[in-house]
Symmetry: C2
Subunit: 682 residues, 2 copies
């Protein structure tokens, strides 16, 4: 495509530009060494600067933005000041990695979850369940979490503080990258290390950290990296119930697979969903709301036959455009994502199957609907080395924030890993019976146990062996036949070893009709970090009006904590009854609203409602009171947060107008056509 | 009142009837002893039986029902079979005290919480927040939970098993009560012990258990009762963060009181609310869903000035009738509740203040709205000895179930206990400034520190004493003045003791104007056990049709997990498109629905939807297909779960008809007037 050709040309230009920079740097150094004239050096420095600017310009074109440009101090200040969130237990000095949601934050979270449920669960008739957070150790042993849910950690050998090894490496090398005089080649090397930091094994990480002489943030020597389990432990009952706070909600679905399958009439495919708390004992929480120890997850497990990962509703998302960063592109010099249609990504085998593709498209639509900016969202495919061995295809939805691109949710084709683990761990049936279109004839090895031969050899001790031999399944029988090919084989049962010889069992090949087979389903798992999505959404919604102190959180009506403010123009007892009437009218129509009559100017109160994201402001003014007294259909002013424009509207038309905008049946523009503008100095 | 007179007359009659029973029992024994004629004994036994029946009849009139009469086996079976709930991790043998909600249970829980939020939070503009479940130890030390959140426990000295002491006593004495030949007097004594079981101190409980020679359920000797803390413990970080899983959600509100007050414009009264998980490490969980270790609470903290507990919306609930069992009535021979209007309960000082009364009435309305039966709900006031020392007035909403009357929520006036505890524990301000109507003149003691006298005595060691003396508040100054009345006093600071004499400080009485005072608010706390309410609601909704095997869960549309089923009359590919069209139509109107096309007779599928509480069933039949083919406005049948009646209704009128019934704007009866009846053999 011409897009790819353009990119190649740009990359070539960038390579040349980088060489030019190196040359100009060398030139300046040479001039300085030979103590050339000041003018001459200045001219060379000028040329070097131009060359560097050219590289920067080209990199801006080639690389996606790596940070959202917002005033983070103003943003953090707003979140705390308006009580969107606050550190938990702050009157007690706080608890690191725990956050509380205040009234606006809590309402936004509730709206986000309600919309998620509407968009995913109800729309597709998923089976939503709600399961325990406290999980017995044996469940998480079977799932692999007790052994493998670790972060590589280093210890500061002087202070004893713990640090996440990959983060420490990223920060340390990040500083090297910022140092003056770094050559483009060195910069490239540092960037690669940062990119790979969370993929390294403990050993690799140790080698790399030694190479760069990484020290702790306090400048002290550090230990070798070692794995630290991230689960919070507890004990249920009186000493006998070692348990963990679940690190994810998904296990609650897997352990209930049998009941869910039955609830679904024993049919595949189907999806289960769950929303709930999960916990991770992060080694050193940082980045505020983005890395916390207690958080809400919304997870879907979509079960399919391993040989049929088509999705019945794929047609409905065929044309959805998504911003994809494939594994292959991440290994390029320029690892930037590409916008393409979902169906094209499938055709080109960038996405592995329809179900994964379907969910990528649905997540794209969901993110757009809640207000994530299109250009600030991409789907990044896991590279081979960051995927678990069993996973078939994994994509993270990454959102651009002031902290960089943040993983806000992931979609993983986990094959039959989880169900197989629990089938083994619990000895439970985790399969679906699938009928063949017609019965099939299969060949089997039939084994007959020769009791007399066994009795003769083992006498009174024969019983366990007899029980064992009669319980073997087809696979085990074939194995035994193989082992006996050499004459005899040892079978260990409890403390006893039985040497079994060829005369003790007889084999015969038989033909058998079977109607179907038991299959352990594969699962595709879209997993949403609700707190992270919420945080990213707030950053995407935040901006300052011309006057930088007037900040706004421009949340969409579906997510906004409160839909309307109701304001008396002045603090005056006469306004009270009408304000209450309007508020009650809105409430009875299901439009959440907040009366703000705390004596400040109307402009200041508008600013306050802008800051907590309320999309509409209704003001009861003197005209309202006058019309009301005269027995007319009184009017109020209705203000749109985003344009700050106002219209004058009869109270009788208020709720229908607002509801129709909230439900996307009409727009604010339509309303400005129907009702006269109202102008004030806001 | 005549009601009270009737009751007194009944009680008198009951007392006489009980004496008669005792007399008749003695008579029978006397006859047996003197070996009277068989006929004579039989006649006396007959009279004894009649007397006993008379007592039973009177007790039925005097005492409220003590158990809901449902087929619990059938009910439990239904809950599991239809996956309303199941024991958590059951494929691993389960985890005692933990339950998962399957699809119908989860949907009911979500609907219940959404309705709760609508009814309490939105209706009254409460400040809802969402706070951490993992709570640092120091927070729960301050709140008193580390010391006092205990259950009295006994240990089986043979098996080592633990039992809740009060439950063991109740069960044990309950068995004594059931034994044949128990006299009415003895029965009365046993009933009193059972009633008081959970009020006894450890010592009292020990004495009572010895008196009745209580043994463990396995018949073994038991230890003395001792307190066992009920919080689940965990550790955050690497070894330094001893924490607990919160035993209630309320502390999350208290520790955020300052921010909430500010969010509310520093005004009282206001209410905050929170919904979330709480945990109790129950000693021996029993009674299934009613006593679990992990559960959802919905709690409200309504903050008021201690001297003004009026409620602005009390007028709206004045006439609400509630079933009240006051503390006073519980001490009567006949401890039955009385129906009265909330305003009368306040006038008669049965309820202590308007805010408590307001919430009792609102809870009554809430419970009725979700479907709790009026006769199965009462509010029981805490008796003096079961209330915490700080509490002013406490009421439990108790619901009648097959396990007896169950506390499903409580309303407690906790005075300023919690905020005072945290003010002290965290050294934080937990008060509201209230202006006086006009400034007041107050007298104060002013203290001047005589530096020269102190310097002369303590020389270089004087500094800490000087710092201490200049930091004293009014209360401490007055105290020091008192202590110095006898000439001198010792002040200990760190390791040093300073003997302070009268010449070191001078006191003067001064007058001062103050504009207001700082007041720590009182709090009224309605606290809802969501799982318990849900369980009680399911019991109240459960019944069997004439055919006992056809059980129904008659949930109201607002709570029902799914509002409509959509059923093809037969399993036939022709029905598919119309069924999907109807389902999509319902979904787009926000009516949740479930297509059931798993090949069984329509009657069996209706039975299945009855069992999961779906109020309406839509069937696409051959007439629908025919009308559809002919291009007519096709009709379907609509079935009402409770009456099992059906109407024939055009698809075009379906959503508006169903929505209007769901939103209580019209009734099923109205629909039967508008559309023709449809009859089949269901």
């Amino acid at each position: 495509s011409s897009g790819a050709r353009d990119e190649e040309a740009l990359i070539a230009e960038w390579e040349i530009a980088k060489t030019t920079v190196t040359k100009e740097i060398e030139n300046v150094q040479a001039l300085k060494e030979k103590k050339a004239a000041k003018d001459e050096i200045m001219a060379a420095v000028g040329k070097m600067k131009v060359a560097k600017e050219n590289v920067a310009r080209l990199e801006k074109l080639l690389f996606p933005a790596d940070k959202l440009d917002i005033d983070r101090d103003a943003f953090d200040n707003l979140l705390l000041r308006r009580f969107f969130v606050c550190p938990s237990f702050s009157i007690y000095g706080g608890a690191k990695g725990f956050y509380d949601f205040g009234p606006p934050g809590c309402a936004i979270k509730n709206n986000l979850l309600a919309f998620w449920r509407q968009f995913f669960v109800l729309e597709e008739n998923m089976l939503e369940i709600d399961t325990a957070t406290v999980t017995p150790e044996r469940v998480l042993q079977a799932s692999g979490h007790v052994k493998k849910f670790n972060d590589l950690t280093v210890k500061d050998l002087t202070t004893g503080a713990y640090h996440r090894a990959d983060h420490l490496l990223e920060d340390f090398v990040g500083e090297l990258l910022k140092a003056p005089g770094v050559t483009p080649e060195k910069a490239q090397e540092y960037r690669t290390v940062i990119k790979l930091a969370d993929d390294y094994t403990a050993e690799q990480l140790g080698v790399v950290m030694k190479k760069y002489s990484v020290v702790s943030p306090d400048g002290n020597p550090i230990s070798d990296p070692f794995p630290a389990n991230l689960m919070l432990e507890t004990s249920v009952g009186r000493g006998d119930g070692k348990s963990y706070l679940r690190p994810e909600t998904a296990q609650g679905i897997f352990v209930n697979f049998g009941r869910l399958l039955e609830f679904n009439g024993n049919k595949l495919p189907f999806a289960a969903a769950t929303i709930g708390l999960a916990y991770r004992n992060e080694i050193a929480p940082r980045a505020g709301l983005l890395r916390v120890r207690e958080f809400t997850l919304a997870e879907i497990e979509h079960f399919v036959f391993p040989d049929d990962k088509s999705h019945p509703k794929f047609d409905s998302v065929r044309d959805v455009e998504v911003n994809l960063l494939s594994a292959e592109r991440q290994d390029r010099v320029v690892p930037s994502p590409v916008v393409m249609k979902i169906e094209d990504a499938l055709k080109n085998s960038i996405i592995q199957n329809e179900t994964v593709g379907y969910f990528i498209a649905r997540v794209q639509l969901f993110m757009e609907a809640i207000g994530i900016k299109k250009e600030g969202l991409m789907f990044r495919q896991h590279r081979e080395n960051e995927m678990a061995h069993y996973a078939q295809d994994c994509w993270d939805a990454e959102i651009l924030t002031s902290y960089g691109w943040i993983e806000a949710m992931g979609i993983a084709d986990r094959a039959c890993f989880d169900l197989t683990k629990h089938a083994k761990g619990a000895g439970a049936r985790m399969s679906v019976f699938r009928s063949f279109s017609e019965p099939r004839e299969v060949e089997e090895v039939q084994m007959t146990v020769q009791k007399s031969a066994i009795g003769k050899t083992f006498k009174k001790e024969a019983k366990p062996l007899l029980v064992h031999l009669t319980s073997l399944d087809q696979e085990q029988i074939v194995k035994l036949q193989e082992n006996l090919a050499s004459g005899s084989t040892d079978i260990v049962l409890g403390d006893a070893t039985f040497t079994v010889t060829g005369d003790m069992v007889k084999f015969k090949n038989v033909k058998k009709k079977v109607n179907g087979e038991n299959i352990i389903p594969s699962v595709v798992e879209p997993s949403f970090g609700i707190g992270r999505i919420l945080y990213c959404l707030l950053e995407h919604s935040f901006y300052a009006r011309e006057d930088a102190r007037r900040t706004v959180v421009a949340l969409s009506p579906v997510i906004a904590p409160v839909k309307c403010s109701v304001l008396p123009l002045q603090q005056n007892a006469n306004f009270g009854p009408v304000v209450q009437k309007v508020s009650a009218l809105l409430t009875s129509s299901g439009i959440s609203n907040k009366v703000d009559d705390v004596g400040q100017s109307i402009g200041k109160r508008y600013a306050r409602t802008d800051e907590i994201g309320i999309p509409f402001g209704i003001t009861v003014d003197f005209d309202t009171l006058k019309e009301n007294e005269e027995g007319k259909d009184a009017t109020v002013t209705l203000r749109d947060r985003d344009s700050t424009k106002q219209i004058r509207i009869p109270i009788s038309e208020l709720t229908s107008t607002i509801l129709s905008i909230i439900n996307s049946q009409s727009s604010w523009e339509d309303a400005t056509q129907r009702f006269p503008a109202h102008t004030t100095e806001d």
